[in-house]
């Protein structure tokens, strides 16, 4: 546990100094939200139905942007060797990176969401608990898949392109459930409907985490 915290702290510290990642993710996600706004005629009513989809597209693009960088420094600056030499299990590295990505994504989302509700005139405050839960479990799912695949993608020739290509098809179940759950919340449906989708996301998170747990050590072998 303390080993995880140590790696996590190292990464957080370097991020706090530069603030590169969080700021670029944030600006990017706001821009995506604004651009999506232009894809509808002004004053259109469709936007209410499409809002949860737009919200998730924004979050997904921003989190992919962030996760794509999570191993870049390690590989480019040769820190990976250092990490590998450290007397820790490979899986500790994975969990630390996963938590780091999750923290970044959650920070960005928690700032984007209120702005999003202003832009799209959505009420997020009455069901804030439910929204927070759905966002948390879905972001966890993205981070579980994304951390693993960013470790793969960073070693390919076309890093930035490869991560979304690997990530999207695998994470489609999470995306479907997240969009459904949030749109159920926005439309004021019963808690049982929302929980049905949320439960599925949790289940997917568990499955993906188990597979990632077993396969991560094969990715950073050399």
């Amino acid at each position: 546990m303390s080993k995880i915290a140590a790696i996590l702290w190292k990464d957080l510290l370097s991020e706090f100094r530069s603030k590169e990642m969080v700021i670029s993710m944030m600006v990017f996600s706001l821009m995506v939200a604004v651009i999506f706004n232009f894809s509808f005629p002004p004053g259109s009513e469709f936007i209410k139905d499409a809002a949860s989809g737009i919200l998730w597209m924004t979050f997904i693009f921003a989190s992919l942007l962030g996760m794509g960088r999570s191993f870049v420094y390690e590989v480019d600056k040769g820190c990976m060797q250092g990490l590998m030499l450290a007397p820790v299990d490979r899986i500790v590295i994975y969990v630390a990176k996963l938590l780091l990505n999750l923290i970044f994504i959650l920070i960005v989302e928690s700032i984007t969401l209120p702005l999003f509700s202003i832009f799209f005139k959505l009420d997020i405050w009455t069901d804030l608990g439910a929204i927070a839960l759905v966002i948390f479990v879905s972001s966890l799912g993205f981070a579980v898949i994304g951390t693993l695949f960013s470790a793969i993608a960073v070693n390919t020739k076309t890093r930035e392109v490869m991560l979304p290509i690997l990530h999207f098809p695998i994470s489609i179940p999470v995306i479907i459930c997240a969009v459904q759950a949030t749109s159920a919340i926005f439309q004021g449906e019963a808690w049982s409907v929302i929980w049905g989708w949320t439960r599925l996301i949790i289940m997917f998170d568990v499955v993906f985490f188990i597979v990632a747990f077993w396969t991560f050590e094969f990715i950073i072998e050399e």
């Binding site: 390919t156 020739k157 098809p169 695998i170 489609i172 997917f204 094969f218």
Partner: protein
């Protein structure tokens, strides 16, 4: 470094059997099988649409098993099997995606309908296209084998999950077009044709996999020899 220049008699036999079986299958599909009442002749697409889907699943299953075996045993040949099967699987998945709309257009009056099965195949196709791209974009052979094995495992585990989520998603927004079920009360002649077709396609898959594997072996042999020559020079 031995390369099979001499033909394996069993493979030749398999090829000959396949040729005969495919001709018989042609007869069964276009002559023997009765014309379906509500869909007409176009229903005959069923006899190669569904077996293509089956072969695609089979191929991806082979990728999954070979990937696990590779990570476990670290034998190059499992990697070759996975690569060959993935390529064949993508081809058959593409055929499913092409013949599906051709069937859907006259029957459902639309080229594309987001039915669970069609959607599943689209996503499956994306997963394995990504798999093949990953293989191309990693330089180191051993490394690409490991990455692809991991992704192959992930991709196959994802299949039931994707299907489940699409199913639920469709249930929430039911489609107005409800197509006649594919296997609802099959006529015995239809069933015979269908299962024979399934058998032929499975045989075809085995034959293609053997041939593709031979090619893969030659590719590896040539690249090994080149590396050796480069080292010697």
């Amino acid at each position: 470094m031995s390369l099979e220049k001499t033909k394996n008699p069993w493979v030749t036999l398999l090829g000959a059997t396949l040729f005969i079986a495919m001709s018989v299958n042609l007869y069964l599909i276009f002559q023997f099988a009765p014309t379906e009442r509500s869909m007409g002749h176009v229903q005959r697409i069923f006899y190669f649409h569904v077996p293509s889907a089956w072969v695609a699943f089979l191929a991806f299953g082979v990728v999954f098993v070979a990937s696990i075996l590779y990570l476990w045993k670290r034998d190059r040949k499992y990697n070759m099997v996975a690569n060959s099967a993935a390529e064949i699987g993508v081809m058959f998945a593409t055929l499913v995606l092409v013949t599906g709309p051709i069937w859907a257009r006259p029957v459902w009056n639309t080229w594309w309908e987001w039915t669970p099965r069609l959607t599943l195949f689209l996503i499956l196709w994306f997963i394995y296209i990504a798999y093949l791209m990953l293989r191309q974009f990693v330089d180191n052979e051993e490394r690409s084998a490991r990455f692809c094995a991991v992704f192959g495992i992930f991709g196959f585990v994802d299949v039931p999950i994707v299907y489940m989520s699409i199913r639920l998603w469709r249930d929430i927004h039911p489609s107005p077009v409800i197509a006649g079920g594919e296997s609802s009360g099959m006529h015995p002649d239809i069933r015979v044709t269908f299962f024979f077709s399934l058998f032929v396609f499975t045989l075809l898959f085995i034959f293609m996999l053997i041939q593709r594997l031979r090619l893969e072996k030659s590719v590896v042999a040539v690249s090994d020899l080149k590396k050796e020559a480069a080292l010697a020079a």
